[in-house]
Symmetry: C2
DNA sequence: ATGAAAGCGCTAACAA
DNA sequence: TTGTTAGCGCTTTCAT
């Protein structure tokens, strides 16, 4: 039998006689034969590998999204090549280079905190490799992206705190220039404004994304002449630090100070008290990113106008914001 | 210029005149040229991609090890193709097939909970692709592995609890058949034995790896006629569930019941009280796995006798096991 | 120090 | 339905 026939049989080419195909498939199974993907890809000028670049896999945020991307990609017959930038611009450039060298079929990326230059991502587009961003994207790229409704989530959260009777709501922000951080701050400000609570500079502190940042920021808030009665942290990890610091002070959560986070980290359900937070549907993000990428991959000819998918967030109310003594609720 | 010369220049072949090389490298940079890896790999009969199979990326245990594997692999010029088995045997078989199809240079794997058949891993060995296991390995494979000293960690932890004055130490185990679970149980038993504390069946309950499992198991312990004065959970997530349940009961940690976990999950430092646990040096595991794999990759000719590297564990004592009223310490 | 030739294992176009 | 031919873009060997 000619190797062409074998090749056809393995790809389920309908022109192969069923009988012949059975023989081939049987033999292939027997020998645990796998077509040489190098040759296949060389010939077909494309691979079934998708490149993913994330800042890190340490936080549940990224690892769970990567988990979902991988799962969804596998379901569609793609494999995932993973790169971490470690929040480093130079490393991210190397990551892109690695993916281009590996001739990936497409790229899904969340850029590092310290990336302010788009050159490397532009190169991906120049090579006509489809590119999808999620969460953190570069402004000047002509790429589709999946973004999170941080603004809406923060707005709903702060509104909830206000309705629970909080009057001095502090906010622990993240790195100042990050869009998601800015959007949360904007949502916070908008809610305050809509409910006639003046915004106060001293009630906003910026830091990173770890519990230590929460401890430090909270320390500052507690030493204010007029301390806040609620603290909205940029994420659940930071909120955990906040709770630690409040407890050290001997204050009660939520009655002395209410606490809320963001992300719906799996731990948030099990803190003491359970943490009010905002769910960001990480699975949906991963799934959507793959969906957008596949759309680009499938119709390479079609108009590939970049789209922006916004994933809604959902307020999760738990004990850390539910006061025993609630004031009469204001009209909505 | 002949393409052969270009190829040589790009690979820093010393036979190329420095002057020529500069011209080539300059042009390559200019054009953002990347050699076609399909052709390179086809010709060289090997790739620079390492396949990794993990049960999931959801727990910090796996995601942080994958993070480290990826980092170490990148440092050595390799990329990482990631697969999740989702703790499913059939999926794991598909994962292996995917990696073989992609002609990865080597495989690093932690097998699923439900894998009791080695066939697919045997196929990797048959194809002469180096295979390294970490944490969870298949018994019958002739592969090197990186294992964790669960036994020693559990022993030290239980010894610490005993020295802290605990006399009825309960253990929440994981899935019964998993080696790491068994080893922790053995370490627990050995410590009890060495300090003349009788082992009691009713003080051991098996479950999964989530906080819910901790809540359930603890519930059982608390309804015992003679409740335990310490609970050693299979991991930190389970320990968090344990703490929740103990608090619900109105009992104090550690004075009424001491609690300890395993893994040194990043959250363990920030629970209330901070959780005593055992660190398992996840970074070292990832680094060692890559190191072993590269050793196989580099001397394909040499004797590849499989080795087993045991990564030591380290007791991390925090508040959840430090009683206010400590008894006089027994001699060591 | 460079060029020429062969071939890695496939797939696509065409022929039979 | 199957076979033949050519060539994907490199690297290696040998020749110059």
């Amino acid at each position: 039998m000619h190797h062409t026939t074998v090749s056809r049989a393995l790809r389920n080419d309908p022109s192969v006689k069923p009988e012949t195909r059975e023989i081939v498939l049987g033999a292939a199974r027997e020998l645990d034969y796998h077509p040489n993907s190098f040759a296949v890809n060389l010939r077909r000028r494309r691979s079934n590998v998708i490149g993913v670049i994330v800042p890190e896999l340490y936080h549940e945020f990224f690892s769970s999204i990567v988990a979902e991307i991988t799962r969804a990609a596998n379901d569609e017959g793609y494999s995932v090549l993973i790169c971490q930038s470690n929040e480093d611009y130079q490393q991210e450039i190397r990551n892109v280079s690695t993916l281009m060298s590996n001739r990936v079929a497409g790229v899904i990326a969340a850029i590092s905190q310290h990336t302010f230059n788009d050159e490397h991502f532009k190169n991906i587009e120049k090579a006509e490799v489809p590119l999808i961003f999620f969460d953190r994207y570069c402004e000047n790229c002509n790429a589709s992206k999946v973004v999170i409704d941080f603004y809406g989530g923060a707005y709903q959260l702060v509104k909830h705190l206000i309705k629970s009777g909080c009057k001095r709501i502090a906010h622990i922000g993240g790195p100042k220039h990050m869009p998601g951080v800015i959007q949360r701050l904007e949502g916070y400000k908008a809610a305050l404004h809509d409910y006639n609570i003046p915004f106060e500079d001293e009630l906003v502190v910026h830091g990173g994304f770890s519990p230590e940042d929460g401890v430090m920021a909270t320390h500052r808030f507690l030493s204010l002449p007029k301390r806040p009665d609620a603290i909205f942290a940029i994420d659940d990890q930071v909120a955990i630090g906040t709770m630690i610091r409040i407890k050290t002070e001997g204050l009660k959560i939520p009655d002395d100070i209410a606490v809320a986070g963001f992300d719906n980290d799996k731990i948030s359900e099990f803190t003491d008290p359970a943490l009010t937070t905002v769910d960001i549907q990480r699975k949906k993000i991963g799934k959507k990113a793959i969906e957008l990428l596949l759309r680009h991959l499938d119709n390479l000819s079609e108009s590939n106008a970049p789209v922006t998918e916004t994933i809604p967030t959902e307020l999760i109310i738990r004990e850390s914001s539910q006061r025993v003594t609630q004031p009469a609720l204001a009209a909505d």
